[in-house]
Every structure is written in C-alpha cells, then in structure tokens.
Subunit: 339 residues, 4 copies
Amino acid sequence: MLISAIPRIGTLPSGRCDAITDVHSVAVGHATLADGEVQTGVTVIRPHAGDPFLQRVPAGFAVLNGFGKSVGLLQVEELGVLETPIALTNTFSVPAVAAAQIRQCIAANPECGRSLPTVNPLVFECNDGFLNDIQRMAVEESHYLQAWASAGEDVAQGAVGAGRGMSCFSLKGGIGTASRRAGTHTVGALVLANFGLLHQLIVAGQPVGKRLARQPAEAEKGSIIMLLATDAPLDARQLRRLALRAGAGLARTGSVFGHGSGDIALAFSTAYALPQRREDPTPAVALLHDGLLDELFQAAADSTEQAILHALWHAESVTGRDGHARPALSALLRELGSP
Amino acid sequence: MLISAIPRIGTLPSGRCDAITDVHSVAVGHATLADGEVQTGVTVIRPHAGDPFLQRVPAGFAVLNGFGKSVGLLQVEELGVLETPIALTNTFSVPAVAAAQIRQCIAANPECGRSLPTVNPLVFECNDGFLNDIQRMAVEESHYLQAWASAGEDVAQGAVGAGRGMSCFSLKGGIGTASRRAGTHTVGALVLANFGLLHQLIVAGQPVGKRLARQPAEAEKGSIIMLLATDAPLDARQLRRLALRAGAGLARTGSVFGHGSGDIALAFSTAYALPQRREDPTPAVALLHDGLLDELFQAAADSTEQAILHALWHAESVTGRDGHARPALSALLRELGSP
Amino acid sequence: MLISAIPRIGTLPSGRCDAITDVHSVAVGHATLADGEVQTGVTVIRPHAGDPFLQRVPAGFAVLNGFGKSVGLLQVEELGVLETPIALTNTFSVPAVAAAQIRQCIAANPECGRSLPTVNPLVFECNDGFLNDIQRMAVEESHYLQAWASAGEDVAQGAVGAGRGMSCFSLKGGIGTASRRAGTHTVGALVLANFGLLHQLIVAGQPVGKRLARQPAEAEKGSIIMLLATDAPLDARQLRRLALRAGAGLARTGSVFGHGSGDIALAFSTAYALPQRREDPTPAVALLHDGLLDELFQAAADSTEQAILHALWHAESVTGRDGHARPALSALLRELGSP
Amino acid sequence: MLISAIPRIGTLPSGRCDAITDVHSVAVGHATLADGEVQTGVTVIRPHAGDPFLQRVPAGFAVLNGFGKSVGLLQVEELGVLETPIALTNTFSVPAVAAAQIRQCIAANPECGRSLPTVNPLVFECNDGFLNDIQRMAVEESHYLQAWASAGEDVAQGAVGAGRGMSCFSLKGGIGTASRRAGTHTVGALVLANFGLLHQLIVAGQPVGKRLARQPAEAEKGSIIMLLATDAPLDARQLRRLALRAGAGLARTGSVFGHGSGDIALAFSTAYALPQRREDPTPAVALLHDGLLDELFQAAADSTEQAILHALWHAESVTGRDGHARPALSALLRELGSP
C-alpha cells in the first residue's frame, strides 16, 4: 500500500474548508466542457463580490518559468493591482476568455476605454492538448460568463473547469485547492496542475512516482498556475514575495520547473482595495511588517503543495482526444492493491 | 513659419527607404478600417519570409511603462525569441488578433500544440478610443490575415493600419518608420505613436508644441509601441539593451513616459534564426561585442525619434467617433501660415 | 554667443533653493580630495536627520544601463527601503565607503548583525579615472564620515565631493542639483554626471555640443547616477516608476545610455518611514493615486535635466592625473566669445 | 536510527569527485579563520585558470530572496559575464574582499579603469554572526589572495572557508558541493549553506528535523548562496534559467526562502569565453537548444540538494562568539543512537 489517504502537508492548521475560499470574499466557479474530443473548460476566481475594475485588489506575481501565454501580467507588474476576476483556461482559448472579460467590463462600466482607462484582462493557461482537441478552440465567451456566474464558496476539484483536460505527473491533473492559517491571517491556494512525469512524483516526501512508473517517460511539456489569496494587509511587493514561495511547495512535489512549461504564481490580498478613479480617496493602510512574513511564506508553500495533491486526489480518469487517457491517481493506487 | 519640412534627426545616414524594411527580409503590411465611428486597423511586421514559428528570430524588449495590454512578452523574456509576426492593433482587438495568429500557426503547423509546442501570439496595442469606437471591437481575424498578406517593403505611414485611430501630441498620430546605418549594420524603427499632449511636443529640439498649443491640456492617456529591427548579430540580452535606447529617442520628442500609457520597445535581429525543433541544429553565431554597440544605440534612438516625426508628418486629419477629430500636424502648420 | 546664462528647463516652478534639499529633511554633504593626481571624493545624501537603519524610507530604482558597480540595490529591490544614507564616490572606492557605512551603523546599533539584521550599504559610483588616479583608491572611511558630518541644506555643485574628478560631455562634470514643484509636492534631483561626448551635448534642446566640438570623439565610457527625493507619499513600486522618468531628462541632454556606462536612477520618499524592528508598528499610509503621478513624472524629468546642466555650469576646470584636463563649460564658452 | 549514511539524491550519475570541480577547469580554494570569537573565512571559485577579466565566462543568476548584500550582480545582469573569480565570505567582510579583487585585477591589468574598463568585483555573503564576531570585520585582503592561491580540484567541505561560521537548520552548516552528469554535460554545485531551522530539515524526503528538534525555534535569519558550473554551451539567459532550478533543490531540503535571507543562485558556463577587449574576435558558439535543457535542470536541482546535505554531513561542531555553538549533524545523530 503506497498511500491510503491523502497526506496532510505541514503543521499549520487549515481554514474551515481547506480551500482558497477560506479567505473571506473569495469565490470560485467553473464551466466544464466534456464531450468526446473536447475536454476543457474555464475556471474563474473572484477576489470579492464587487466590481474588481472599480475596486482593485493589490497583487504580485513570480514567474518560475515563462514558457507560457498568460495575459495581463505586464500591467500587474507596473500597477500592482488586479482589475478583473482571474480566469484560467487552455492555451488557445486565452483570446476568447480575454475578450469575454473586456465585454463584461464594458457592460458594467460604459466609460471603459473612454473617460475611464481600458481594462486589463487577466487570463492564465495551461496546454491540455493531450486529452483535449485544443486546436478546436472550443471555449466561448459564454463559458467564461457561466463560470463567473456560478462562483461561490464551494470549490469543485480535479477534472473540472480549466482542469478538465489537464495532466499531472502523467496522471489526471486539474484543479486543486487548500488553505493554511498563519497566526490571525489565512493563505489560500488554488492550482491548475498540468506538469510533471510520473517517475518524478513525490507525495509528502515519498518518491511515490518512482514506484508507480512502469514505462519510459515522455518529455515534460506541462505547466502549472498557482494562485494565492490572503487577508493579510500586503502590498504588491510583498505579494510578489509571497507568490514566489508557492514555488517551494511545487518543488517538493518533484517539479524542477521544466523547460516546456509555464510555471507562474500570483498572489493577491483582500485586505483592502485601491480605487480605479483618481477622484476617489486611497485607503490608509498599515502593511504587515516584512519581518512577520515567514509564517505566511510557510503557509504559501504548504497550501500550494497540498493543493497539488488535492488536484491529483480528486481527479477522475478521463479519456479524450484520439483515445488518449489519463488515469486518476486513486484508480492507479486501487489497481496496485491500495485501498 | 515653424517647420517647413520634416527635420532630419542626427548625423547617421539612413538606409535606402528610411524605413524598417531597410533591414533585409523585414516586411510590413496594414489593414485599415475607416468608416464613420470605426477608425482602427491592424499592422503586421514580418521578420522574414519564412515561417517564424519554425525559424525563430532572437528578440528582447524594454518596458518603459507597463500600463498596457500587449500579449506575448512573458515568453519572449524567457526564451528570447519571436515565433509569430509582430502585430499591432487597438487595445480591445488584441484577443481577435491573437486568435488569428494562433489559427494561422496551426494551419501552417498541424502539430502545433500537440507534438510541437503551442505558439506564442505577439500583439501590441494602443488605445485609439478617442477617434475609434473601440468598444465595438471591430477588428476581425480576417483583417490580421489581410495585413499579413499585404506585407512588403513599402511602408505606408500616418493614419493607416493600427495607426488609423491613434492620437499623438493631441494631433493625428499613427504609424511612422525610419532607419539609420551604424557602420556595416542597419537599425530600423517602426512606431505606433499614440501619446503626448500638444504643449509637450518637441521637434528636433524645438518646443514646437508650446507655440501651437492654444487650450488647456486634457490628461495624458496615450502610449507608444516602438519596434526595432537590425541585421547585426545580437542575442536577446543585447536586443533588450538596444530596445531600451528607443526610449531616449522617445524622450527627445517631449515624452516623460506618462502614467496612463503603455510605452514598450522591442528589438529583433534578422542575422540568424533559432530552430523550433530541438532535433534541428542551432547555428554557430559570433555575436557583436558589446563594446561595439554604441553606434547601434545611437541609431536606435535616432531612428525612433525620426519615426515619431514621420508618423506626425504623414498623418492626415481624421474625424471619428462622436465627431471627435484630430488635425494633422501639416494642416495645423498650414493654418498658422507655415507652408 | 551660444549661451549666456544657464537655461531653465520646463514650466514647473522650482523649490526655494532649486536643490534636492528643497524636499524637507534631506541634507547633502561632500568630502573633496583635490591634490595633484588625486581628484576625487565622497558625497552623502541623508534622507532625514534620524537613524536611517531604524527609520527606513521607501525607495525604488531603475537601471537604464547596468554596466556599473554600485552596491546595495539587490536589497532595495527586495525590501523597498533604504537603511543607510546614500553615498556617491569613484568606482574603486566603493568598498571603502561601504565599510564606513557598516561601521557607522554598528556604532549606532550595537546589535546590528546580531539580534538586528545586518545593514545594507548603499554606494553608487562613477569612474573618474581620466582625471583621478583611481587605482590609488585614495578615499578612506574617514572621508565618508566627513561628508556625512558636513551634510546640510546648502548643496555645493560642480567639481566637489564625488564629482571632483568626473567628466561630462568631454567637459568638467560632477555634482548638480535642482528641484521642481508638482502641485503640493516637491521632487528634488541630485546627479553625479560623468557621461557623454562633447558633440552629443544638447542644452535645452539646442545642439550646443555640435558647435563646440572640434576634435574626433573618444569612446563614451561614462555614467551617471540620478537621485530623486520627494515628499509625496509613494511606495517602492511608485518610486521605481518615478526614478525611471529621470531617464527622460537624461535623454534630453543628448545621452543614449551608452554601453560603457552605469546609468542608474533611484528615488526615495520622505513622507513616511518603515521601522526596522518588527515589534514597532508600521504607519498607516494613504498613498498617492497612480493616476496623479504625471506631474511628478514631469518634475522628475525636468529636475534631472536641470541638475545635469547645473553640474556642467558650476564645474570649474580641473587638471589631474598625467596632466589630463577637463575644461569648464563656462570657460569654453568664454573662449568662444560668450560672456 | 535516522540516517546512517548520507543519502544520494536523484538518479543522475555524479562526476568523478561529486564536486563542482568535476566541471573541467573549475577550481576552489579556502582561507579559514578559526580562533575563538573569530570563526569565518573566504572561499574562492575560479572558473578557469586564465585571467577572468580578459576571458569572461557567461553567467546568469536568480534571486529567490534578495535580503542580501552580495555585490556585482547589477553588471552580471547587464553584460551576462563574470570578470573575476567568485568570492564567498561573511556579510561585513564583503568590502574587504571586493577591494582585494579590484587590486588583484589592477595588478594583472595595469590599464584597468583607464584604457580598459573598471573591473566588477563579485562577492557573495551570508551572515555568520551567531558563531562569528562579524562586527570585528576580521577578513583581510590577504585572506582572499590566500584562498585564491590555494584553489584546486579538491574541495574541502563543511566548516571551512566562508562556511566556517555558518549555521544551517540550527546545526553547523557551511560549504558543500556535488555534481551530476546530464548526458554528455556536467553540472556542478557549490553552496554556502546558512539557512533554516531544525524542525524544517528534510533529508531526501524524510522530515528528519521534526524528529530531532527539541526546542522552540528562533526566527529564521539565514541565507544560502548556490553556485552552479556547467560545461554545456549556454548563454546568460539560459544560465539564469539553470540557476533558478537550484531553488527546487533548496526547497526539497525544507526551505521556504525565508524573509530574513539572501537566497541567490548563480550559474556560469566554461564552454566558451567572451573577450574583454572589443578588438578581440568573439567566438562562434552553437548554444544548446532550450528544448534540451530539462536534464540539466534536473542536474541543477539534484546537485544543489546534494551539496546542502554534504555541507551538513561534513561540518564539524563549532563553538564561537560568546560561547555560541552549533552541533554537527553527525554528532547529533550519534547522540541519538544513530551510528
């Protein structure tokens, strides 16, 4: 028996749901497309229930490997804020989802691009082309809106939303989430896990993959998007520091941030918001002292590692394009006589 | 008389056409939409006549102000190459053009996103919402293909292609190009100029704008994309250095890289190409010594400044959305008794 | 007559002294070594009268050209604060001045490097090896302390302090300062100007250098350090944005950020301070809205351009190592029949 | 029994000595100061036997946490080369070692800082203030020269050179090295390990630290320098990518890149050198295709993790300043009844 239950990472306590939505006001929704050759979808993370274009939350990010096609990071780097919900989808559907974000913002803000600035779409992606006919570009703007409208506190995990067609450690990957408490603050992680070869998989320190792997490895072409939310009062610089620590959690699962991969982490804070309109007053914020970040850093690494394990654990087996299939980790373990 | 002819910047000689296409193998095409409220378009720069996905040219970029929605730079930073033509359009049409680049690459490379990596669309933008009904998202994928197909050595300037609806120094802006020779090498610049307030305009050192400006300035919300091509054998690091010097040319026209602005410069070299397929041999390249870059830096600054002046000089007056109008610099000078 | 008085840059008003010390609490001091082959020194900028290690001011920087040996920027990037005064000196004297900063901090904070973190020296440099026997490494720790102790509101300019041996546009360069008011806030600039060839010099838009230059140019090997202070409440991200605009002022004097050059701009705010000790409360700060930065950006560019002109204007002719000499701009103009 | 022998990380083979000197032409030397309150030193890594100022090797780096005082990285970022040996020492001795590098370069190149550029010292540091009286600044220029002169293929590990006073996981840390073969190429790692709290320590996936830790943890204030050498023909961009993968190895030992820490990785290639003098021809280099980097990335992560374990394993117990002591891992295991 290799693993009979999903191991718990680290010693920090989880939030109520062990999910990114343990950070107050964060909501997650999915739209899943699962029909033969089309195995893909959209996932939306809303930082708060208001209009993120008018009430922009601070954000920072770290690029561990930039072989990726995510859009919106240029402006996040310059201005240090989000101004849309965060969307996840497959690589070739980024334009459709970005267009949906633009139209949604215009609908809510008729002066967007006129007396108000243009909006900055923020769409992350992984390549699900093994299971999904990615060339079909099946995701439409309506799917983004559907995911957005369904966003709530309960987060479905595994082969759902943008995670529908993703592979991870040659197994079925996808969406995973987790949270950790650091003192009075919470850090929540949500990952889109689409990386790694089976022989590389480490589960809570155990080289599980080496024991499961039975065939020569293909080349690593995967990637991972790691999103962190926190209610700690941090600014863009501090959030960039927090985001980078997701990479420590990722490395502990066996990744070496392979070449053919977009490995990106973004962190945002819900503790305050910065107004779009310069006529509106900016809030007076007492930031957390950098000297108090260490426990948040541990929470970022641990919740990310846990979220990756959750993605593997909750994913069901999927067969898609050209009969390509990815087994669920749970199925593989059952096959081997694990419970 | 303020200016009777367009001044020549600097002392370096120009190439044959004083255009980016003086760099061998570079071609430029436009698709222009000019119909009432719709005043916009697409411009395409092809680094060479082959498939840029298979034969990738080295590239580097500098972000002077990242308040912008261009896509594709994340991967250029990581891998140091282009793999599509460079496209320019309005801010809200970026998704349509990116989708067109993806479909074009799939058509030419049926294994794109399968056994070959996904392609990285590269689309730059400025906000032409003053003259153009940008919310209509009028640019379609066919316009990208039309611009691509029409690409050649002759470069139309002013209110054409992506430049159709752009404003510059409260005048009609748009597309401008120029080139300079630096020893045996050529540097060519092409700009999409959409920045600045009239009173800021400096023409070859003269504060022309201060004399022309008759009304209080609106707030600066513009931006500029500056593209440099060279036949010098440079790598991504050196091309990033070259790109930054476009900012010196920009500053000399009166810009201070205003807040509400995406000011981005990208440089690429046509001296060699790096193969997409790892089975293909990489070329042996003797790079230019960094100690020999100074003349290229001067050429980058001078050709950029010249290209901005060309954009102003060649632009015709345009009236667009809600009757908004931008006068041509030439018209304004005529009005004031200049030739 | 080329120029009879130093031109005033831009339309924004200056502060009381047209100096960086117009920003309340900022003080500047010099130690000058001028003895035959030794023509060099140290300049110190104190952000406030307190201990900068305990009360750290926010800071950000932009590297226009990184061919330089300044120390301390790594940590400024990560933490977004200064924790020493800013020191300027020649390239090979950086270690001596950094050691002086460490010893000064230990003297004031006996727990530095023990229960308190180690201190981050911040020393910028230019190469004054044309006029100064830089290999002698003549600056000693006592010179740093002397500059520090002499810091006050009055700022000597030209061939003083770190500027003693510097060359600029093949003329005598050195220290210059200026300030501009942007609404209720002030931006002050102080430069260590050591760049450019005579034929490149542009004074307030006029190609003065072209008319003065009488001999073929040597290769550009210079550099410039540009320091900005402001009393506007900005954070590290915004200060990085402000710092970059110093580059626009620099470009307008004729620089193209030449290869052999360390062109670096750093901006700090005196509006608030962040405590070193994590036990101390962080202040609640309402930052300036980014949408209000444009006038500050203009002030940054204009005060930098003005400070460079001040450095040239105030410098006296100096003869140093091996009889090398740099004429003062004023002397050159007199020679040519200017007043 | 927790661990009876040092575990071997990963499946790639090691080079002949399992040391960074398995990369041809790399040599390592130490100067160790061990006398009561003074427990510190210098370590020097020479990329090749020639003059690195004239024959500069390509290099790139990744900053995982920039709370550090290393000098020289600004220019490595801009120019992509080393021009001195790499030196390691304690935080407050950086200036002395940088001065030694300057003097050494001047001695070998009398035109340094005159007709040749100034030299860029490259000194990395960690804070050994727990065991060492760091305020004494005991390292002198002669110690650098001594370490340099003693450099050879055999690499002493543990409490030697710059590692003499370093702590790691609340144990005695210091210098460790390892190497891995990736196809026909070798990657070697050398670390200066000074990070982590005992309860965080993970040895080859096992949470050894949790079992060893008996007292509440102090705050993490450590750091780590990770140096990678390779004989693969990579450029600065690729070497930056390689360097970042050292972070994956670091994370697997239990680090989350804590706040109070300078966690920096630098990689260089010995496959070719770039001349200092622009008169000298640059070599024609066929770089490794990025698509072939994955095995090198694995080698970088594995050799770094192994090098950290080597540092712990080879370190002897040290007592220093104020009677502070750090036990050797081997001693602790013996105490607990392990062999």
